[in-house]
C-alpha cells in the first residue's frame, strides 16, 4: 500500500429505500429525505439522501476495502450535487499517505474519497483509517461489498 494507490470503486444504487432507510437509521426526519411531495414544494425535484447516510456510505467504503481490522479515525466530507432516487453513487478512493507503524502495531492511512453520480460530484472527502501495520500489500478482498 503506497500513496497514489487507487481503491477499487464501489457502486451503490441510490434507491428510494436506501434514502429513506438511511434517513431513519440516522434519526433524520427532515421531510426532504422521505416525502417527495414536501421535497417538491421546497423546490427539489424529489427526495434526496441526507448527509449522515453519505457519511455512513463513505465509512463503509473504506472499511470494506481495508478489512475487518480497520478502524475509522476521522471522516471529513463535503457534499456537492444531491443523490436522488434512481442515481448510482460510485465511490472511488486514492491513498494519500501512509504513516509508519505506530503504537499497538497500527499505521494510519489517509484516503481521498470521491463519490459521483449522473449529475456530477456528490461527495468529496478525506478519511483517516487505522490498519494493522502487518496488513498485506494487496487490499483485503471481500469485506462485504
Amino acid at each position: 500500500m503506497r500513496p497514489g494507490d487507487e481503491l477499487p470503486p464501489l457502486s451503490v444504487p441510490v434507491t428510494r429505500t436506501l434514502i429513506v432507510a438511511g434517513a431513519l437509521a440516522s434519526r433524520d426526519f427532515q421531510d426532504v429525505h422521505h416525502d417527495a411531495e414536501a421535497a417538491r414544494a421546497k423546490g427539489s425535484p424529489d427526495i434526496f439522501m441526507n448527509i449522515l447516510t453519505t457519511n455512513g456510505l463513505v465509512g463503509r467504503y473504506i472499511t470494506d476495502h481495508f478489512g475487518a481490522d480497520a478502524t475509522l479515525v476521522r471522516v471529513s466530507i463535503r457534499l456537492g450535487v444531491p443523490n436522488y432516487p434512481g442515481d448510482v453513487l460510485t465511490l472511488s478512493g486514492r491513498v494519500v499517505s501512509v504513516s509508519p507503524a505506530r503504537e499497538a502495531g497500527r499505521r494510519a492511512v489517509e484516503v481521498a474519497v470521491t463519490g459521483t453520480n449522473r449529475l456530477g460530484r456528490h461527495v468529496t472527502g478525506t478519511v483517516h483509517v487505522a490498519v494493522p501495520a502487518a496488513a498485506p500489500e494487496s487490499p483485503a478482498d471481500g469485506g462485504g461489498a
Partner: protein
C-alpha cells in the same frame, strides 16, 4: 428547521455585519443528552441501511460504526426537548436568518474525529459551539449564509468524538416555470455584469462595437498601454492615439474558476491573462478548450463573443495545437 405553519416570510434581505457579529463563539448546545444510550438495535438498523457488514459492528460485543456519531445525538421525530441543551444563541441566529428570508437549509460539510469506539450502554452528552457564520454567499441553490458548529461528544465526561457540521441557510431561488423554457425563461436568466464605460475608456468599447481590439499608444513616447488610462505610465503625457491589435497572443497566466457560481456565469471556466503580440497583456475569458486543458504558453486568438443582445466582449480562443509552435 423552518416552521411550515409560519406565515409567508418576506423576500430575503441582506443582513448587516453587526447583526451577525457576536454569534461566533457562542454556544449552540449546552449539556445536551442523547435520547438513548448506544444500543445494538440502532446499530443494526444503521448497518442494514448502509449495507455495512463490518464484523466489529455485530455479534455479542459490537461497537457502533464511528460514522453513527451524529445519529446518536439527533433529536429524532419528537425533538430533543429540554434534553437537547439547545442554546438560545443558536435559536436566535437561525431565527434571524429565517426572518431575513434565508428559510431553507441544507447540510454541506461534516468532519468527524473518533477518539474511541462507542459501545452499547454508553450514555452520550454533548456541547456545541457556533464556530463561524459566513458573510452572504451566492451559491447554486441561492444566496445565504454558512453556519458552522463544532460539537464535542462525551461519555461519563470523557471526550469520545468531535463533530464539525456546516449548513447553508439560504433563500431558495425562484424556479423558472417548467412549462415555459422558451424566451420567457431566457429573459429571466441573469445577465452578465455590464462594463462601466466612462470618458477614459469609451474609445475601447467603441472599438469592441466595431469589432476591433484597440490599444492606446502614447503620442509622446510611443509606449503601448492596456487597459485604457488617461495618461502614459511611462512619460505622463495625456496625449495618445489608438492602434488596432492584431488579435494574436499567448496565454501568459490563467485561473480556472470553479466556485462560487456567480449569476450568469457557468463554472468551470478559464480566465486568462493574455499577452498580445504587441506586448501588452489583457484579462479575458479563454474559450475553445476545456478549462482544465488550458496551459501557459498556448497561442490565443482574439474573437468577439456576443454574450447577449446588449453585450459584446473580446475573448480569446486558445489553440492547443500551436502551443509549442
Amino acid at each position: 428547521m423552518s416552521d411550515p405553519t409560519a406565515p409567508p416570510l418576506p423576500p430575503s434581505r441582506p443582513l448587516r455585519p453587526e447583526e451577525l457579529a457576536g454569534f461566533e463563539g457562542r454556544p449552540a448546545a449546552v449539556s445536551g443528552r442523547a435520547r438513548d444510550p448506544v444500543n445494538p438495535p440502532m446499530i443494526r438498523h444503521w448497518c442494514e441501511a448502509m449495507g455495512d457488514r463490518h464484523p466489529a459492528y455485530s455479534g455479542p460485543d459490537p461497537v457502533a460504526p464511528p460514522t453513527m456519531l451524529q445519529a446518536w445525538i439527533m433529536g429524532g421525530l419528537s425533538g430533543h426537548g429540554p434534553r437537547g441543551g439547545r442554546a438560545d444563541a443558536y435559536d436566535r441566529l437561525l431565527g434571524l436568518l429565517d426572518r431575513a428570508g434565508y428559510t431553507a437549509v441544507v447540510a454541506t460539510d461534516c468532519e468527524q474525529e473518533y477518539l474511541r469506539p462507542l459501545r452499547p450502554g454508553d450514555e452520550l452528552t454533548f456541547d456545541a459551539v457556533i464556530e463561524t457564520v459566513s458573510p452572504l454567499k451566492h451559491t447554486r441553490l441561492g444566496a445565504g449564509h454558512f453556519v458552522t458548529t463544532r460539537t464535542e461528544i462525551r461519555t461519563a465526561g470523557a471526550l469520545v468524538g468531535t463533530h464539525r457540521f456546516r449548513i447553508l441557510k439560504y433563500a431558495p431561488r425562484p424556479k423558472p416555470g417548467k412549462a415555459a423554457p422558451g424566451p420567457a425563461a431566457d429573459e429571466l436568466r441573469p445577465q452578465r455584469p455590464r462594463p462601466v464605460i466612462n470618458r477614459d475608456n469609451a474609445g475601447f468599447w467603441e472599438g469592441v462595437a466595431a469589432g476591433q481590439l484597440l490599444i492606446q499608444r502614447c503620442a509622446a513616447c510611443a509606449e503601448l498601454r492596456f487597459p485604457w488610462l488617461p495618461g502614459c505610465g511611462r512619460c505622463g503625457s495625456p496625449e495618445w492615439t489608438a492602434v488596432r491589435a492584431s488579435g494574436a497572443g499567448r496565454v501568459f497566466s490563467y485561473v480556472v474558476m470553479h466556485h462560487p457560481p456567480f449569476p450568469a456565469f457557468d463554472p468551470p471556466y478559464a480566465v486568462g491573462l493574455v499577452e498580445l503580440a504587441e506586448g501588452v497583456r489583457m484579462i479575458s475569458n479563454l474559450i475553445g478548450t476545456e478549462p482544465g486543458r488550458v496551459r501557459i504558453g498556448m497561442r490565443a486568438e482574439l474573437e468577439f463573443l456576443q454574450v447577449d443582445a446588449g453585450l459584446r466582449l473580446p475573448v480569446f480562443r486558445v489553440l492547443p495545437d500551436g502551443a509549442d509552435a
